[in-house]
Amino acid sequence: MDYFLQQFLNGLTLGGVYALVALGYTMVYGIIQLINFAHGEFFAAGGYMGVILLSFLASQGYMDSHPWLCLGVALCLSMAYCAMLAMAVEKVAYKPLRSSTRLSVLLSALGMSIFLQNGLMLTQGVYDKAYPTEFTHGSITLGPVTISLMQGLILGLTVTLLLTLNFVVFKTKLGKAMRATSMDKTMSALTGIDANRIISVTFAIGAALAAAAGILVGLYYGSVRYDMGFVPGIKAFSAAVLGGIGNLYGAMLGGFLIAMVEIMAAAYIPHGGEYKDVFAFIILIAVLYFRPTGIMGENVNDARV
């Protein structure tokens, strides 16, 4: 039982990361029906920006005195950076294709993904870059389970970001405009909503969430790599599809579900660790076979972004 609880906690931690990345996919899909293949690269760019900023701050000596403040600064700056990157990608590769076929936009996205990944490799090198992680050591024991400081940080930050996003989408004027644009672009434009601006903002928010996830993963595993965006990217996309693409809560649920399947398969099935990705995809295929719209994909006009 203790072992199960511990694995459950690991699943929650990983699920939080997947959910953060999946939200970006689902928001973009909801608004322009595009699988943004480059989204995984925003995740990787966020991770890199974190390591660049943290090691810069460490060399200036700020990390020893105020490590958590430094982490906060790095987090905010890399989220802002990835938001800018996403807006640039949207402007260059997707906006001119607004009226062309969906396959064209998809391939453009695929091209951008390859471009960004290789850009990261050329500028930052092919080897792993190590995160300064000394300040995150430590753990709290709560009854039978042990929560490491890092897991606590990931869970806390994920919940905070998810709640903030929920607030932005459902309680602010910007969120209302986003929901309106995703439901009917023409009609919302007639009411004075600038669709191009809303799409741009959607990309920015999604990329900022992915950047936060990138930093958290970098801190958790201690290093980043230029191609780290690919596998979490497709997992998160699977999560978004599993939950019903276009649905915010669906993406969160799908993220936690995929992560749980992965962790539990690794923990309880012999050789499960090697095949954990296979289990994640099989669950995806099985769910889509019986329910092609995803788990929560029914309410097309409700709670969509």
Binding site: L97, G111, N118, L122, T123, Y289
Partner: protein, 408 residues
């Protein structure tokens, strides 16, 4: 709007874009643990800025009245060349082309043949994927899995059981077709993007299984010393006997793949202009309408997957025989993306287009060998640019309507 203000906006856009690019580039290149450096950022930004200014300058110049006369002259020259070409009957061109292809290994060195073999393998793959994506309109992002199935079929059968290449070829094709039907069956109810992610997942599943099934596939190390194809010749040395000759030379392998590629071209062409091909195209244009007109969409979609996979499997078996070794990392997602890019770059559903696409994506990077490390960067960028300037591909297919799913 006058010409002047349009140009002013172009230049302003360029300036803003370059500023934004510099802003994005600086953190990656300018922030180091030692401090802030501006030199490296500037070194990268400078050539990009020069190129951008050059391109925008050319665009501005081409809108000047003086350029119109030049363009008209070029157009009339192109039209003249086109009529001259079309006067000669098609079979003459085909014969010339085949003769050229047959003589090719004698004209170039080993390196040239090597590149040509690569191109021909990708022609087979591209045409196979074309059946699924171009003809039937089903987006498949895990196509390389069938290539892997074919390659491992030959690798295992040849090294473990000593089965000959020519027997393995149909077995590889059948196994790949079965794999194609396996992925096809659960996805037939899905459309568009759901299909994309499921095929992507399936491709990853195959790769992970190959990577981890140590007892069968030898895991990440792959399978080595795979025998090349061989054939029996009659030998007269005091009586008649049969001798088994292995095709060890690259030139001989070139002819094997040439036959395979030409066979694929003929097969796909026949499929395209048959009843089956028309059914596929009907499904691509509008699935609901096709079903109403009596096309059995279930069966034809499954058939499209199986046929596409068959060509992939054949190419895979050849790949294993030619490389003499297979490893899981040859079948990663980036290869699927490369084949898809070939099909789309050449023109969906267009056979000459896909051949050209394979030539462009495999042979062109060889020309720019010195810039090896920028290869994928340029490839990704080119893919996005291609979608902007010529989304229908280099040689668009003759029969291609507006895709049905766009209105949905």
């Amino acid at each position: 709007m006058t010409l002047g203000s349009k140009h002013a906006r172009l230049w302003l856009g360029l300036a803003v874009g370059l500023g934004w690019f510099a802003l994005l580039l600086f953190p990656l290149l300018g922030i180091t643990p030692d401090g802030l450096t501006f030199q490296t950022t500037w070194n990268v930004l400078k050539p990009v800025a020069l190129a951008a200014v050059g391109i925008v300058g050319l665009v501005s110049l081409s809108h000047l009245p003086a350029a119109a006369g030049l363009r008209r002259a070029a157009d009339s020259a192109r039209a003249g060349a086109a009529t001259a070409v079309s006067r000669v009957p098609t079979f003459v061109w085909i014969t010339l082309l085949l003769a050229g292809l047959a003589a090719y290994p004698q004209l170039v060195g080993r390196y040239g043949v090597d590149v040509a073999v690569n191109v021909l393998v990708y022609v087979c793959l591209g045409l196979g994927l074309n059946v699924v994506v171009g003809l039937c309109g089903l987006l498949d992002l895990g196509y390389i899995a069938f290539y892997g199935v074919g390659a491992y079929t030959y690798a295992i059968l040849a090294t473990q059981f000593g089965v000959s290449f020519w027997i393995c070829l149909p077995i590889a094709a059948v196994l790949a077709a079965v794999a194609g039907a396996c992925i096809g069956y659960p996805t037939l109810r899905m459309r568009g993007d759901y299909l994309a992610i499921v095929t992507l997942g399936f491709g990853e599943i195959i790769r992970i299984i190959i990577n981890n099934w140590m007892s069968l596939t030898n895991g990440p190390n792959g399978i080595i010393s795979i025998p090349p194809p061989g054939f029996y010749t009659v030998v007269f040395d005091g009586g008649i006997s049969l001798e088994h000759v292995l095709l060890r030379k690259l030139d001989q392998m070139y002819y094997v793949v040439l036959v395979l590629a030409v066979g694929t071209v003929i097969a796909v062409r026949h499929l395209n202009f048959s009843r089956i091909g028309r059914a596929w195209e009907a499904i691509r244009e509008d699935e609901t309408a096709a079903e109403l007109m009596g096309v059995n969409t279930f069966r034809f979609k499954l058939l499209a997957y199986a046929m596409g996979a068959t060509f992939g499997g054949l190419a895979g078996a050849f790949f294993a025989a030619r490389m003499k070794s297979v490893a899981p990392n040859s079948f990663s997602f980036i290869e699927s993306a490369l084949v898809l890019a070939m099909v789309v770059l050449g023109g969906l559903g267009s056979i000459p287009g896909i051949v050209l696409g394979a030539l462009a994506l495999i042979a062109l990077p060889e020309v720019f060998r010195e810039f090896e490390q920028y290869r994928m960067l340029v490839f990704g960028g080119a893919m996005a640019v291609m979608m902007l300037v010529r989304p229908q591909g280099l040689i668009p297919a003759m029969r291609m309507g507006k895709r049905g799913e766009d209105e949905a």
